[in-house]
């Protein structure tokens, strides 16, 4: 592992050369130590130290990040863009200086300094223990904790107990260059799965680092990936973070979307298309994903993977999948040939309604998005989380509600009773969120049941629905159809208290509602789907029609148990409906294609009739 770096003395000379004439005398022990560290960070034959391992090393020195920044600037790595031997040695010297309390300056390293201390960096020859890990580790982690939120904190508690050995987070992910673009979404998941990750990959790295797998704190976490040439130091520092992030993905499954990421994607979706049940058109999505600065063929491939129904638009789960793929790609993962199972829309739909406590960082993402790939400072990362924490707590409630609104899954119905207690009423406001779902969205939404539920709660406030119903499919008697739905569901579904799911409602309703004009053919689909749904709901009508009257008065608890039963029956029915609708969907899509063909045929005929040469 530790190769006697041939260039020990040479490196010192290089250091002199590298700093433009600054003579950096290194004592014997220093030379030995530095060269050893350098070889650790920079497996030959590469010339420059990998940013990740360097970052990890620096982190292990327990200096505050600002100091580390300064050091990197002073040592010249920032200027030249990589950690060559010269820069590395200077940096080590500066670390020693900083640890001894000297300011980070070139002058300070001219003196005799003790060797820099790297906390808990175990190597074969020397073991140095710095100040107790917890102190710095805690300090360092705090800003990240806020960033990572609950999940992070949970794992953090466990981490602090153990000596912080340099984590090996070893990610076998391909050494592509991570970018700052996606730091936020990734950081969310990373706290949670770090432990799993480290255990998985501890073995191969143990050989290299002779440490035991532990969940190092965030400070140590910037895993010792195989050295990558990083173009700038900042990027390398940020890269470590993202490597860590991506490594945590990997432990679970790089293609699994964590809760925070999901929230994040949902908010992005919302920014593009306020109606979470509708879809994003191709051009809008194209513009959006082009901002990620991935090459077009890759974006094209990502689109192919995520647009499973091949209709040129992205529903929410498709969008999440696409976004996740973009994020993964940005972090160096190769795109898969087929869509991973965890990214399938059905899977995403099913998973989507888990309780979402964590809000996404709207602000941070929106600022990073336009910026594209900016080099990111640690300080910025740390500040951002701090800012967002207050936002998040305030927004959590809203987000929860909105998210519930967005993600309709029949399995989610189980969580509904819980939500009832939590959610405040957002009747008209959320209804007007116009969940305009495509017909195919029905396959994953709990449609009618929730619809009716919502309708049930409506009595107090006049549902704004009527205005929506005319937006697009004016040719359909949507209202009538919805009334049927409402009736059916009311009977089968004990009315939840007003605070219940506001937004959910209109799923089926919205399905019929206005679609963007670009998909005119859906009108047909919807009516047929609607027709299908109504018969299925009618069986539930027979329960009690008097329920509506009693609705507002029933206590919540009684309703919960009944709701659960009703939910389960509803789930069954919905599943059946889903199957039918899926079949119908495919048939209708075929029809759509044919209709398009006809249209094109007509257009070409028209052209032919004109006195212009056709071919």
């Amino acid at each position: 592992m530790e190769q006697g770096p041939a260039g020990g003395p040479a490196a010192a000379a290089a250091a002199a050369a590298g700093t433009g004439g600054l003579l950096l005398p290194l004592s014997e022990s220093e030379q030995q130590r530095y060269s050893e560290l350098f070889s650790r960070c920079c497996p030959p034959p590469e010339a420059a130290a990998g940013g990740s391992s360097v970052g990890e090393l620096f982190r292990a020195s327990q200096l505050p990040p600002d100091t580390l920044h300064q050091i990197t600037e002073v040592c010249g790595a920032k200027r030249v863009g990589y950690f060559g031997p010269a820069q590395f040695y200077i940096a080590l010297k500066l670390i020693a200086a900083a640890q001894s309390g000297f300011p980070v300056r070139i002058e300070s390293i001219k003196n005799e300094l003790p060797l820099p201390r790297f906390m808990a960096l175990k190597n074969d020859s020397e073991v140095r223990y710095g100040t107790p890990a917890e102190l710095h580790g805690v300090k360092f982690q705090v800003p990240h904790a806020s960033l990572e939120k609950n999940s992070y904190k949970r794992t953090d508690e466990g981490d602090k107990q153990e000596p912080k050995s340099p984590p090996m987070s070893p990610v076998c992910s391909p050494p592509a260059s991570p970018s700052t673009y996606q730091r936020i979404p990734l950081s969310y998941g990373y706290g949670k799965s770090r432990s799993g990750l480290e255990q998985q990959h501890g073995a191969p790295y143990e050989i290299r680092h002779s440490t035991h797998q532990q969940e190092g704190p965030s400070s140590g976490n910037y895993g010792a990936k195989p050295a990558l040439a990083c173009s700038t130091l900042n990027r390398s520092l940020s890269a470590e973070r993202e490597q860590q992030d991506s490594s945590t993905h990997y432990s679970d499954d790089p293609w699994r979307i964590t809760e925070e990421q999901r929230d994040y994607y949902i908010n992005q979706f919302r920014s593009l298309q306020p109606d979470l049940n509708s879809f994003i058109s191709g051009s809008v999505a194209k513009n959006f994903f082009t901002k990620s600065k991935l090459p077009i063929p890759e974006l094209s491939h990502i689109w192919e993977l995520s647009d499973v129904d091949c209709d040129g638009a992205l529903t929410l789960p498709e969008f999440c999948a696409a976004f996740h793929l973009v994020v993964a790609r940005k972090n160096g993962y190769q795109l898969p040939e087929t869509l991973p199972e965890t990214l399938l829309p059905e899977y995403l739909q099913a998973a989507s309604l888990k309780p979402m406590r964590d809000c996404t960082l709207f602000d941070s993402y929106s600022e990073s998005l336009p910026g594209g790939q900016q080099t990111r400072d640690f300080s910025r990362t740390e500040k951002a989380p701090a800012e967002e924490v207050p936002d998040n707590s305030a927004l959590i409630k809203d987000a929860k509600k909105d998210d519930k609104q967005a993600l309709k899954v029949s399995t989610a119905l189980k969580t509904i009773p819980k939500e009832f207690q939590h959610l405040t009423v957002k009747t008209a406001a959320q209804e007007s969120n116009a969940l305009k779902a495509r017909p195919r969205s029905r396959s994953y939404s709990s449609t009618s049941i929730e619809d009716a539920m919502k309708k049930g709660e409506e009595p107090p406030t006049p549902p704004p629905r009527p205005q929506k119903s005319h937006s697009r499919a004016s040719s359909l008697d949507l209202n009538k159809i919805f009334q049927q739905n409402t009736q059916a569901v009311r009977s089968g579904w004990l009315p939840p208290p007003p605070p219940a799911l506001p937004p959910r409602p209109s799923v089926s309703q919205e399905v019929v509602l206005a679609q963007p004009p670009s998909k005119p053919a859906r009108r047909k689909l919807r009516t047929e789907a609607q027709g299908l749904e109504t018969p299925e709901l009618s069986p539930t009508i027979n329960v009690t029609s008097s329920l509506p009257a009693v609705k507002p008065h029933l206590p919540v608890q009684k309703q919960s148990s009944k709701q659960k039963r009703a939910i389960q029956t509803a789930i069954r029915k919905n599943k059946e409906a889903n199957a039918v609708l899926a079949r119908l969907n495919s048939e209708l899509q075929q029809q759509l294609k044919e209709v398009h063909k006809e249209r094109i045929a007509l257009e070409t005929q028209l052209e032919q009739l004109r006195p212009v040469t056709v071919l």
Binding site: A285, S300, D307, E337, V614, L615
Partner: protein, 139 residues
């Protein structure tokens, strides 16, 4: 031996060419190019019906080998050409038609991709997979 080509109007340059096996590709390119003329002829001859699934049947192009060249044109004048070895007698007309249909469907899916500009070469992996599987089935 199977070659499939997709050519787009108006200049009829190929968007996608795939042949199995891969030698003699140049010959196939030439074959396809000449067959395009026949395709155009048929299109202009047709008045109303614009979708023709089987257009071209060449009994003998070369003295040594027989090729059957099938053509297919979509409503937007995108031409699909398939060159099959005549010795492959197991290949029936219906199969050719279904292959063209699959090609057409995949092509439609590609068009749905907003990142695809009509007229670009087709670089979709899904499309490649589909074509490969189709060709493997035949050969």
């Amino acid at each position: 031996v199977l070659v499939s080509v997709i050519c787009s109007p108006p200049q009829n340059y190929p968007l996608y060419i795939r042949s199995v096996p891969t030698e003699n590709e140049l010959k196939f390119h030439y074959t396809v190019h000449t067959s395009l003329d026949v395709v155009d002829e048929k299109i202009s001859a047709m008045g109303k019906a614009l979708v023709d699934q089987r257009e071209l049947y060449l009994g003998l192009l070369y003295p040594t080998e027989d090729y059957k060249v099938y053509g297919y044109v979509t409503n937007s004048k995108v031409k699909f050409v398939m060159v099959v070895d005549s010795s492959n007698t197991a290949l029936r007309d219906n199969e050719i038609r279904s292959m063209f249909r699959k090609l057409h469907n995949s092509y439609t899916d590609i068009m749905c991709n907003p990142f695809y500009n009509p007229g670009d070469r087709i670089q979709s992996r899904a499309f490649d997979n589909m074509v490969n599987s189709m060709m493997m089935q035949v050969c």
